[in-house]
Symmetry: D2
Subunit: 328 residues, 4 copies
């Protein structure tokens, strides 16, 4: 199967997510399996332009499948957005004899890869790594499953204290543009309400719903809020509004923050990462380029990179309905 | 939408799995949403025959979404396999005015439901709850995801001590007839070898592979073994064989056992359970019967119960290949 | 051993903490062991004044040892601070035939119990339940150990992403007046700096220390900050100061918040709670009153309640030194 | 404070335990703090005799405080029990210019260190690392706290399935000679019975107790059994005995095994390890030798090594009583 590709570079870029190390490991071991060289590129496009490279063999990635973060580090690069920056990157790749790239990251990462390919015809393959699950062309991005479990464990803990004190908690989870984490963890955490960017519930309806919930006998409540919820208030303003418009409530706020990006990946994310790494290397060796590997209907599939960066994945409307019914 | 169904009974049967409580909660709340009654039936078919029933409303299932096990208890029944037993069950249902049943369990449970429906024309709907993921008609059974995470966390711990001592560990995981847990957790746990019932690796190839692995520089090794692996030896016999046929190895065995069935369900299993409960109640109210709800291509779908109990789900051959490449 | 005490009431009050349920269980089972009645009092002093009581036997506390929060709920009461409030409480106790009280909570709870005892001569025994570990008379309060593990797991996750991006994180943990959680979790989380209320490091020394740390080759840093740190700035002001006074740093803030109060108690907290409940009931039956049970040199010991509420436990200076050496 | 000691060697030996890496890190950073050299010795006494050494600085131990196992690996050595073996070790130390040793392990490790010191007058300091908590001179050995939490989490999971099926589980935990793990986790896991090597309950009393427990309304039961329990039957024989002598019980066995030795250390173990490492280096630099550092009454204290290896720590009788009362 191997064509002329003899050396593959791999890097992580953008926000890190659990499973990135497992994906690196998979790319490296796939290369070892085909007896081709693998080069780890540090700090994403920054390291690519600087030639911050390291040769990796099967043993280099020992003991990382269960580690959060990325051993190759990540960074956001402004220089790579310039023609000069990309020229530097191309020169470094040529110098190192690298024939193809596997880019692990989100849509910013893929946009960079796409432009780079257009300019230099350099073979690139994308692996979707972001906790937000907002990439078209895969049902699950790397890290989404782990981040959901992290959030749900936190909600479980907060509910312990919420129900001991009959409190109302607003819990902010990640998701600036998409509500996947909020919607799923809200259902799993037994939230009474879920506020997501895709849907404008409205403050009054929120208050009505919370009052109804209290009347129905619930003494404590959890509202899960995505960072970018459409109501357009930040979570502390939400708290203030409820404080002013509802009596007898003890309202608290918890912003889960960056712990959502870390942690040992779940079984699902480790397996997904392993599959994606194999598929990425296989596809490059088959002469393909400009694709993202993804999970579609539980199978590894390729999606053209320009499709992958167009728009965001849609919220599952069935889940919205399930959420409504569950908070009966 | 509601047809003549006014009272739905729900029970869990067979081996328990994480997510069963979340499914019970979902059935109960879906009934509350439609203003129909819901009756919890204790201890599966045993309680069905004895009339061990309890009326449940939305508040009855508060605080159980994150609990392992099943608040309705489970049991295996021999009496229900007799015509007399099933007649008793039917009489109890009539007496209680129950119109339809949601059965949460595995293929044994569904077989019982199917026979019962054939004899009495009683509407039944199945929800697949088993950690083994061996039910046709759903990509994931309830509890499979959680059990995998439990196993992977245990493997991570064992690897700590394995690599400190340069040991070889055989780790037995559940899966008498199917290797889904073993295959996925083996990949996720970074196992050097995975023994599953679907594939006969052979003892000699196992030993060869382990020797090769040691030569390539690995100082410790993990072999994940499904209970029902095809080599036909139990895990202690495997250990003895390796002890006799490989020198310089310190071989240990760990049987993970029943902890795999318990634990707080993962986000995935809680969401899946919530979706399945809604779909089951919706389907009964639409006049459907004799189906199992399942996840197919990330959507809720119905599969006729007699299809669901035919055969077992197949191992994903892609995963076997990924496993081979990863242990490079 | 039993004297005239025939019925003991138990309640939780103030901020909840993991292990409170295990302590309730222990009080209830100890009463059952001695064949005396046990009454659960809901919502602390609020429920005491309202007579919100429930009789509890050994089976009532089944399955709660591993649950966070408190099944008896907690509350803060202003009315109990009045003479009238306490008279109401006394009347309710008399009406219910309760002879003695076990109060689980922090120093606010104990102050109430002490005043109540002074006025009515009612036998009271305290169990220290608070995550802050700030109560004199015990080396460990209930929930302290669990909260520390919760914090350390969160720090571990944050470090994954911090080191992937070479970031500096300020992480706020609980501890308004005392730095026990911050100091211990800072050491355990490998923090470069720890800011506690007991010690004024000063902003300049903080910045110097962080610069030195970066120079020594550390690419990411964690600073653990107690809510009430002495520098007198909140954590967002700290971030701003560092942003302004250090170049090339990507500084982030994470406030861990209320999840620190919840979660399944650790083995240590469950055993401690079990011991404390037994000791509290034993002591009441021996005719003692006005004491707090505590762990001193790994043994159950009594401390007069008025000593327990005087001042706060001191920071262990040895730990400060260990922290300094560890961040070498 | 530094005397003539210029180079300290550190190693781990015997069974590994969580916290060993944190202790290595602490020894290394303490050396860095005092500007003396630190040498990591691989595979315990084996590596000592072979000169398997590596120089370590503050950065070498980055990111290991939260890792289970030991980066220096561990081994059991028979050769070091011979005079020739120890001479080889001494020669290697001389050759490398190492002045003093920190030995992390259990009583076997300390016995070796003591003999070595007697023969060659070489300064040695011990750090107690074993999950069994059986070393005299410290209230807690490294890893004991973590192992207890691992066991309790497993028991919680098993209880989920036990109570769903009304089963009786025998759960075997580590502790060949001492019952500390069994006793503490039995209490924390809500076990009905706890079998430990220090106490011979007798099979009949066990059966009587289980019958009483069932009569009192408990539908499921957990019995925690230490490996070396005094009844003198292995756990499968126990099961058989109960199967034969009690009707209507569904009895299962779970052997938790080596996962108890691994896993990320708890906050407590990380702090303890950090303190012990500092104390060990401090003490060597003060010219002391032949001591073990330990936690006594929450303070770091030294115990002569020959005391530390004499006998085993005693079971806390108070805990036995608490256990009895809790299973009321």
């Amino acid at each position: 199967m191997p064509n002329k590709i003899k050396k593959i570079g791999v890097f992580t870029s953008g926000g890190d997510s659990p499973g990135m190390n497992a994906a690196i490991r998979s790319v490296v071991r796939s290369c070892a399996y085909y007896n081709i060289e693998c080069i780890g590129i540090y700090r994403g496009y920054e390291g690519l332009m600087e030639g911050d490279f390291e040769s990796m063999d099967a043993r280099s990635v020992k003991g990382i499948i269960n580690k959060g973060g990325t051993i190759l580090k990540s960074a956001r690069s402004t220089e790579f957005r310039t023609k000069e920056g990309r020229q530097k990157a191309y020169d470094q790749l040529n110098k190192a004899g690298i024939d193809a790239l596997v880019a692990i990251g989100g849509d910013g990462t893929f946009t960079g890869a796409l432009v780079f390919n257009e300019e230099f015809g350099f073979p690139v393959m994308g692996i979707p790594g972001t906790i937000d699950n907002d990439i078209v062309g895969t049902s699950h991005t790397l890290g989404f499953d782990t981040a959901q479990n992290t959030v749900v464990e936190a909600i479980d803990k907060i509910r312990d204290t919420a129900s001991s004190h009959n409190r109302l908690f607003f819990i902010e989870v990640m998701g600036r543009d998409v509500g996947h984490i909020a919607l799923n963890t809200g259902i799993a955490g037994g939230a009474e309400e879920i506020l997501i960017p895709e849907e404008d519930l409205g403050l009054e309806r929120l208050v009505e719903s919370l009052k109804r919930s209290r009347k129905s006998g619930k003494s404590s409540s959890i509202v899960v809020v995505a960072e970018g919820d459409k109501i357009g208030k930040n979570i502390f303003e939400l708290k203030d509004y409820v404080d002013e418009n509802m009596e007898g409530y003890d309202v608290r706020v918890s912003v889960l923050g960056h712990m959502q990006r870390g942690g040992s990946p779940s079984c699902f994310d480790r397996v997904l990462a392993s599959r994606m790494g194999v598929k990425a290397v296989d596809s490059l060796l088959e002469g393909k380029s400009n694709y993202m590997v993804g999970l579609i209907n539980n199978k590894m599939q390729l999606t053209p990179l320009d499709n992958a960066i167009k728009g965001k994945t849609k919220i599952n409307l069935e889940l919205l309905r399930v959420s409504d019914i569950m908070s009966t």
